[in-house]
Symmetry: C2
Subunit: 236 residues, 2 copies
């Protein structure tokens, strides 16, 4: 089966979902690489439809040139044509792109607010600062950009960060007291390299995102309280 690598630019809106899934089931039975014996009861079971519907779908796929079909003594044999393979591939590429993007990064948007200065304090401690330099690749400006997340979708993606390993910033003790560990995710705010910092023990709830960077982001981007800012957070 030669699945061409050049895109055929098939408009996904033009695809009939039911026909596409029928083609998927034929592919799973091997139809992209050999002739597949298909009995209507089997196909109906695959599709979760009646036999009548399964039969109709096969005829439609044939009429549209997505499969070739031949009827033998033993039953019908079906192969997926190049045109059919292109249809499968168009969805595959769209899915692949969306999934790969999502595996790499998420986007969280929130409103700038003036925080308690807690993050600024932590970032200025050498116990954290030196690790940030080493693990994130920049010397952090002693201050954080605080974003308040208001939309449920941003809270959802913020919550996902809790379940990701991120980059560990180890806790430490300076003799007087101990400081808990944190995790960081590399990030971008506009075009500025930054990081999101999740401190283990914090006074903030999970509706807050603390962003650090080598520069004062508020100043560099001319931000004021209430401005909305999107942060692209690297998951890998």
């Amino acid at each position: 089966m030669s699945l061409n690598l050049d895109s055929k630019n098939i408009d996904l809106a033009s695809i009939d979902p039911d026909l596409w899934f029928t083609l998927l089931h034929l592919a799973r039975r091997g139809g992209l690489r050999k002739g597949v014996f298909i009995s209507t009861p089997e196909l109906a079971k695959d599709l979760g439809t009646s036999q009548q519907t399964a039969s109709r779908r096969i005829l439609e796929l044939e009429a549209k040139g997505y499969i070739k079909r031949s009827v033998t003594r033993k039953g019908q044999i079906v192969v997926i044509t190049e045109k059919g393979a292109d249809l499968l591939r168009a969805v595959y590429v769209a899915l692949h792109d969306s999934i790969s993007e999502a595996l790499k990064s998420i986007v969280i948007t929130g409103e700038v607010f003036t925080g308690l200065g807690e993050g600024a304090y932590y970032v200025s401690l050498n116990g954290y600062r030196l690790q940030i330099k080493e693990k994130l690749g920049f010397d952090p400006y002693p201050g954080t950009l605080n974003l308040k997340l208001t939309e449920p979708s941003d809270l959802y993606f913020r919550e996902l960060l809790n379940h990701r390993a991120g980059i560990l910033i180890k806790g430490f003790s300076n003799g007087k007291r101990t400081y808990g560990s944190a995790k960081a995710f590399k990030a971008k705010v506009k075009d500025i390299d930054a990081a999101v910092l999740l401190i283990e023990r914090t006074h903030y709830g999970i509706d807050i995102l603390e962003v650090i960077a080598p520069v004062n982001l508020r100043q560099a981007l001319g931000l004021r309280d209430g401005d909305r800012v999107s942060v692209e957070v690297q998951l890998t």
Copy 2:
């Protein structure tokens, strides 16, 4: 977006094709990695449906837990949940497996018949034999297993080989006459390493497949004329 790598074993037959495609369109708009503003007219256009249908699909996806939705002043924001991501991923994995398999090999089945001995003659010529040893990794038994393809699906996959580069076996001249080039594809017959040989100038039509191997396949597999044999042909 954490698309878990362990399979959720979602039964593809249980997936509603229309809902799945709606989810795909949301993923293409970024719903796996951020909150997406969705207007019903836009979604209807994506899906090629009426606005009423598009609205109903969104509500169904929400009711089934595949998306989270919130209505704001500006419109509705949608994110794809872990459960929704799993549903997208189940289809992605099934497609990926079918496509990868098809990119690697195809299966052609035919009936054993006794040929003209033309293939055996060619294979015994040093001009071909030494190239076969070098490029396919075995010293060919001086004879070919000839298969007659009877099913349209096998002819279809046989035809695909014409459009593939394969492994070039160069033509040569021995002073008396010239011999044309051929192409070969590595193959397996049962568990025996073999190859399919497509000779440029042959007396055979495209309903014939000639298989060579380091052993006499007919003998090794106890084959007789009329027996059906499947050959797994490597495309890469």
